[in-house]
Amino acid sequence: MQKGNRSGWYWLFIIPFIATLWPPFYASYRPTLGGFPFMYWYLILWIFLVAILSGIIYFIDNR
C-alpha cells in the first residue's frame, strides 16, 4: 500500500477533538431532539461524524 504524502489530511482529525472536548459548545438542555437534551444528541451526532470522517480519510489513504 502506497501512502504518499496524503497524511496532511490527518490534520482534519483535530476537528472532533475540538468539537467534543470543549463542553461550552454543547453543555445545554435546549434545543432538544426527540426528547434528548442538546448535549446528548450533539455527542451522538459526533459519533456518526467521526466514523464518516475516518471513512473519508481511509478512502483518501487507499485511493
Partner: protein, 495 residues
Amino acid sequence: MTFLGFFASRWHRGNLNLIEEWGLAGRRFGTFVTWFLLGGDLYTAYTFIAVPALVYGTGAFGFFAVPYTIIVFPIMYVVIPRLWRVSKRHKYVTAADFVRGRFDSSLLALAVAITGILATMPYIALQLTGIQAVLAVMGLGGSGFMRDLPLIIAFLILAAYTYNSGLRAPALTAILKDTLIYVTVIVACIAIPIELGGYGHIFHVAATTLAAHKGAAILPPKLYTAFSTLALGSAFALLLYPHAVTGSLGAKGGHIIQRNAALLPLYSLALTFIALLGYMAIAAGIHTKDTSLVVPLLFIKTLPTWFAGFAFGAIAIGALVPAAIMAIAAANLFTRNIYREYFMKEDGPNREAHVAKIVGLVVILGALLFIVAIPLQYSIYFQTLGGIWILQTVPVIMFGLYTRWFHRWALFIGWLFGMFLGTWMAAAESFKTSIYPLHLGHSVILGYAGIWAILVNIIIVVVLSLVFNAMHLSNGQDHTERSDYTTEPGAVAAQ
C-alpha cells in the same frame, strides 16, 4: 461458548507452540474479527456495570465516556498502524518489545512491561464485578464459598481455553458475546423507554432527581475541565493498554486497523445507550446504595424475566472475553520483556510460548485470588490507578513511534516522575476519584490526575532530552528504520 473456545485452536490453524501464534494468533485477523476483538476490549462487562453506575450517581459527568470513545478512534487511525507495521517487520509481540528495539534499552522496556502488567491485573479482576452483580440480583448471591463458586467455575473455563487456544479463543467468543450484547442493548433501549414513557420523560425525571442529589443532567461549568481531561487521558491510555495492543497487533494489516477506526464507533453508540441506562434506572425509581447493581436491578424491574436472564448471560460472557485478552496480553509482556530478558537460560521460541501459556494461567488464577481474597474496593482503586499509570507510557511509546529525539534516560525519568505524581494525586483523593483539584494561585482547576502527571512527565522528558543530547550521552542503537513505520510489510504468506 466453551466449545467455541476450544474449537478456536483449530481455526486458521497455526503452530501454537510459537508465541506469535499463541499470543497474536499469527497476526492473521481481518476486519471483521479485529472489529469484535477491539470492540470487546473497548467495552467490557465492567463498562456495562460501571458507566451506568457513574451516570446514575453523578449524571452528565458520567458521559465523559462518549467524547472519550469518539476521539479514541482518530488517535487509533493515525498512531496504531505505525506500531503495527514496525512490530510486524521486527516480530515485536508487545509494546515493550518495540521500546526495547527503538531505544536499545531493556530498562525502559521493563518500565513499560511492568506498567502494563500492573494496570491489567486489577482490570481482569474487575471484569468479575459484572458477573457478581448479575448473580447477586438473580438471588444466587449465596455466602462464603458458595458465593464464589460460579466465579471459580467461569474462570477455570476461561483459563483452560485460553491455555489451549491463545488469542484465537477470545476472538471467536467475542463474536458471540457482542452479538448477545448488541441484542440486549437494542432491546433494552427500545423496550425500557416505552415502559417508562419515552426518552423525553426519562431525561426530565433524571434532571429533576439529580438536581436534588448534587448531580446534574447537563454538565455544570465547574466540571468542564475534569470532563474533558478525563476523556482525553482515557482515550490515549486505552490504546496503550496491553490488551488493546495485543488486539491491534493481531490484525493482518495496518489498513485493517484503519478500517476499524471507521467502523468501531458503532460500539461508542452502543456505549452511549448503555450509559443512558443510568438515567432509565433513575426514572424507573431504582434505589440502591451499591451502584454496581443499577443495571441488573433495572432489567429485573422493567423487562420480562426471560429477557433479563438473556441480558445477564450476555453480561457474564462479556466479562470472560476481555479477561482472556487481558490475561494473554499480560502473559506476552511477562514472557517477552521480563522472563526472556532476565531469566531465560536456554533459547528458543517454543520455550517462549510454553512460558506464556503458563503465565497466562497464573495471571487468570491471580485475578481470581484478587477478587475472592481482596475486597472489591481495592480492585476499583487499582483500576483508577491503572489508567493513570498507562497514560505515563505515552511519551515512550507514542512519541517513540514518531521520533527518536527524546533521550531514553529522559523518557525513563519522566515516566518515573509521572508514575509517582499520578499515584500521589490519586492517594491524596483517597483513591476515590481520579480527578485532582490543581491549585493555581487563587483558582482551582479540576482535572484528571493522569493528565496532570503526564504534563509533568512530558516537561521532564523534553528538558532532560535537551540536556542529555547536549551532553552527548549515548542514546543507544536504533534497531528500526524510518521506512519500517510507513511501509506496509507484505501480506502473510500463510493466508
